[in-house]
């Protein structure tokens, strides 16, 4: 079945099963492989993208439910990869293996797109859906505080 989507500013058409999770549309139909599969049940956050700027677990959204909403993936977060969150991630040298990081960055970017986190508790609440098996949480928190500080 054909679906028209807006992905990273581009209009695309894909021909997929209608229950295909957005994650697999991105990875297999569009070869946007920056968004990762971790669990398929929305429990780990590796698949996080933005739908109209809202952080969303793309493994849990069927393509038929996306509609007109703008899809932003890690590849489209910033044209030169220079989003404040990405800069902060580089300044704090956050990643180890890196597999969870696109999802972490997308969740953090959505958090900071609003008025930003008031305190660590808000950071924790926003980021606790993103697992990191390598344990880079300490640096993720520091990077978010750095990016939030820059934004002020």
């Amino acid at each position: 079945m054909e679906f028209r989507l807006r992905v990273n500013g581009d209009e695309v058409t894909v021909d997929v099963l209608e229950d295909t999770p957005l994650l697999w549309v991105l990875r297999d139909a569009l070869d946007l492989v920056g968004t990762k599969y971790g669990c398929g049940l929305g429990l780990c956050g590796a698949c996080t993208v933005h739908l109209d700027g809202e952080p969303t677990r793309s493994c849990s959204v069927p393509v038929s439910a996306v509609g007109e909403r703008a899809v932003t993936t890690i590849e489209g977060l910033h044209p030169e990869g220079d989003h404040p969150v990405q800069r902060a991630w580089i300044d704090e040298d956050v990643p180890q293996c890196g597999y969870c990081q696109p999802g972490q960055v997308m969740s953090a970017a959505a958090l900071l797109a609003g008025s930003g986190p008031a305190d660590d508790a808000e950071i924790d609440e926003a980021m606790s859906g993103n697992l990191c098996r390598c344990g880079t949480y300490v640096r993720i928190r520091r990077a978010i505080r750095r990016a939030a500080g820059e934004a002020r």
Partner: protein
């Protein structure tokens, strides 16, 4: 090409040739520092093997260093490059890295494991950089008609005393044509006092690509005509296919075919890879859907009786029999009988799944020559060897590209997923990308073994340890190997702390099980340390001693003791990390009500490490909160402080996650858990701050990837005891039983 094994003639040690883009390619062959790797899944016999450094300098003076060790997040692409770049004397901005394919020139064992990469390559990679520098100096000397001894280098340029300089890029082409006689084994290395890079904070080279989503992992490989595959396997381990019906699969658009896979390796009742039905489709989602539509009739096989509850029961039953004495010094039974006081405790650790964030995957394409493989693996040469075995192809017909791993933790020391992918590609004669779902990943892992420890100590009047008896029964991961003492698998019976007691005995008993087991971060030590570091605290409490002070007294005067066959244990270095962590945590100073500190230490792969954990217990909720970890490490000379800090932070959090939640259970031969709702990992809201410290040292570097992991569980349990008076002896600490203990529900 030089051949593996045998002796190498001196003139083969350095090869100079033209690089791909007209610059200089230097390859250096050097004797390796290590013998056979402990966790080679195929038990390759030790050979006199080489490690080869590869360094290419292009005409713009950029240096590309080929990294033989897989990157699993331990930062090896950066740390090994630093070793070459330092001696080459090239600015860091001009350094690039590429990942080596699995090729003969890598030597047989460049594995990501054993915390060994920096330790093993410390000398050979520095020699590689220094040899290339000498070749470039030689080229400049020829051009200037000056003696090489009057030339130097700085920042990627050869320098003459009279002020003339030449960039490496300008010299690269003519250096390639030179017939320099540089011996990399004797070339002069920098005095560490002159290091400009080693010992400085260096960000990981791949970070910018990672945060842009540009870094490719195994399942990101895309090939024309590539099929995706998942495998249906019997829910009972090693069950066999009786029949299958894929008629409903054909209703799924994109479905391609099913392929029957035979079990491979191991024994019929405990194969290395299990039998199954591969489901192939043109998209990953279609493959997953088709697998759900597949009907398979299984013969559940011989393992329906396997269960973790049964294994624990058998471990305990074995404890009541006579175990094999693995090591004994002094007369322990007499010491225990005569002791003023005795302390006795039983500890247990469950099976554990590795569950890295990136599930297993492997892409295989048939080619004109043979096959091409893309695999995230910790053991490239073993992966290539097993692909050769499965396919019948020679190794040189197999190209294996080593992909970055989304976490290793020992999971990717196993190569079953490579076997399966090769089977599927050869059967379908198409490129195939095999992926594991999270459920597959948790259920078809090679688990960290389960074991039970019983310790007994006899104390003298001062609370010192007169006798130490450590008995362990468990499911050794060496049970399928010949000629290796089983005790060595999960019973790192080195020196600390047993041999520091006046007398000691270590005993081991194997509990038979067909369930697949494998190495997990700090194998053996990850449960051994749980038992001994918790028990040391119990001994301290019984004897009225401070846990830190008891450990320091046990270590005694600064001296070296033999450790296994090939290493030494320094009591002074162990004492130093204990003191450093304690100092950082203000050990002994008052804490608010309900908070406690726990200390634990380890000697892992030549590195000393201590954690002090500060935790509080919510008695009514039966929960534990870790507020802070202070870690002190002695890993010899620190190559990249940023990398060491990463591993102290990450290892502490990984260790904490396993300590609080880590448990894999089996019932009726089936794994109970399936995804992160019932196999939880620590979340960011639970992650403590980690204060990372290290001992300044000019000893050769030892590893940092594994040491931070084992002492976390006992440090947390010791902190819980300090905070609440409740002693927890079974992992995971937040099991239902332990929560009840914390709430005071149980006696």
């Amino acid at each position: 090409m030089t051949s593996a094994g045998g002796s190498l003639r001196r003139r083969d040690f350095l090869r100079i040739s033209a690089g791909a883009a007209g610059g200089l390619l230097v390859t250096v062959s050097l004797p390796a520092c290590f013998g056979r790797d402990d966790d080679d899944p195929l038990d390759t016999p030790a050979v006199a093997h080489r490690m080869d450094g590869y360094l290419e300098i292009d005409t713009r003076g950029n240096a590309t260093i080929r990294i033989p060790v897989p990157e699993i997040g331990q930062g090896v692409r950066t740390s090994l490059a630093m070793l070459v770049a330092e001696e080459l004397d090239v600015p860091w901005e001009r350094v690039r890295v590429t990942q080596s394919d699995a090729v003969d020139e890598m030597g047989p064992h460049p594995i990501a494991g054993g915390s060994w990469s920096v330790r093993a390559y410390w000398l050979p990679f520095r020699q590689t950089g220094a040899a290339a520098r000498a070749v470039l100096i030689g080229a400049a000397a020829a051009r200037w008609d000056a003696p090489p001894s009057e030339l130097g280098t700085r920042g990627g340029r050869v320098t003459h005393a009279d002020g003339r300089t030449l960039d490496y890029g300008e010299l690269a082409a003519e250096a390639a044509a030179a017939t320099a006689s540089v011996d990399p084994e004797t070339v002069a290395l920098k005095d560490p006092a002159d290091f400009r890079l080693i010992g400085t904070e260096v960000a990981h080279l791949d970070t910018p690509d990672i945060v842009r989503g540009a870094t490719r992992f195994g399942a990101d490989v895309r090939l024309p005509g590539m099929l995706r595959a998942v495998i249906a396997r019997c829910p009972v381990y090693a069950g066999r296919v009786v029949d299958w019906d894929d008629s409903a699969c054909r209703e799924v658009p994109g479905f391609h075919s099913t392929v029957r896979l035979e079990a491979f390796g191991g024994e019929p009742d405990r194969p290395y890879t299990v039998a199954g039905i591969g489901v192939l489709a043109t998209s990953t989602w279609a493959a997953m859907k088709a697998r759900e539509a597949l009907r398979v009739t299984w013969d559940e096989g011989p393992n329906v009786g396997e269960s973790s509850a049964e294994l624990i029961r058998r471990c305990r039953a074995m404890m009541d029999t006579r175990l094999e004495s693995f090591r004994e010094e002094g007369r322990v039974d007499d010491a225990l009988a005569a002791a003023a006081r005795r302390v006795e405790a039983e500890y247990s650790a469950p099976l554990l799944a590795h569950s890295p964030m990136e599930p297993m995957n492997c892409t295989v394409a048939p080619t004109a020559e043979g096959i091409e493989i893309w695999a995230p693996t910790q053991v490239p040469q073993a992966a290539r060897r097993v692909a050769s075995q499965v396919s019948g192809l020679d190794a040189d017909q197999i190209r294996l590209h080593v992909m970055r791993s989304g976490g290793g933790f020992g999971r990717r020391l196993a190569v079953g997923y490579v076997i399966e992918a090769v089977q599927l590609a050869l059967a379908s004669e198409r490129p195939v990308q095999l992926v594991y779902t999270r459920e597959d990943e948790i259920r078809y892992d090679h688990f960290r073994p389960l074991n039970v420890h019983r310790l007994m100590a006899g104390l003298d009047e001062r609370g010192g340890i007169a006798g130490w008896l450590h008995r362990q029964a468990g499911t050794s991961r060496y049970a399928f190997r010949e000629g290796v003492p089983l005790a060595l698998s999960e019973f790192r019976a080195g020196t600390w702390p047993a041999a520091l007691a006046a007398s000691h005995r270590l005993e081991y008993g194997l509990v038979e099980s067909n369930l697949p087991r494998g190495p997990l971060r700090a194998p053996g030590l990850n449960t051994f340390t749980w038992a001994v570091e918790s028990f040391l605290d119990e001994v301290a409490a019984e004897g009225g001693r401070d846990p830190l002070e008891l450990r320091l007294e046990l270590l005694g005067a600064d001296r070296e003791l033999p450790y296994n066959d090939d290493d030494a244990f320094s009591t002074g270095r162990m004492a130093a990390v204990l003191r450093r962590a304690a100092e950082g945590a203000a050990w002994g100073s008052p804490l608010p009500e309900g908070r406690g500190r726990g200390i634990a230490a380890t000697f892992t792969f030549g590195t000393y490490l201590a954690h002090v954990v500060e935790a509080s217990v919510d008695r009514s909720a039966g929960s534990i909160r870790v507020h802070r970890v202070v870690s002190a490490i002695d890993c010899g000379r620190v190559v990249n402080p940023n990398g060491v800090r990463h591993q102290l932070e990450g290892g502490a959090i990984d260790g904490l996650s396993a300590a609080l939640y880590g448990e894999l259970t089996v019932e009726g031969g089936r794994v109970v858990q399936s995804n992160f709702h019932d196999f939880p990992l620590l979340r960011s809201s639970e992650a403590p701050e980690v204060d990372a410290r290290w001992i300044e040292s000019d000893r050769d570097p030892t590893g940092v990837g594994e040491p931070p992991y084992p002492p976390m569980a006992p440090a947390v349990a010791n902190a819980v005891f300090a905070a609440s008076g409740v002693r927890l002896r079974e992992l995971p600490l937040l099991s239902e039983t332990n929560r009840a203990r914390l709430r005071g529900d149980e006696a």
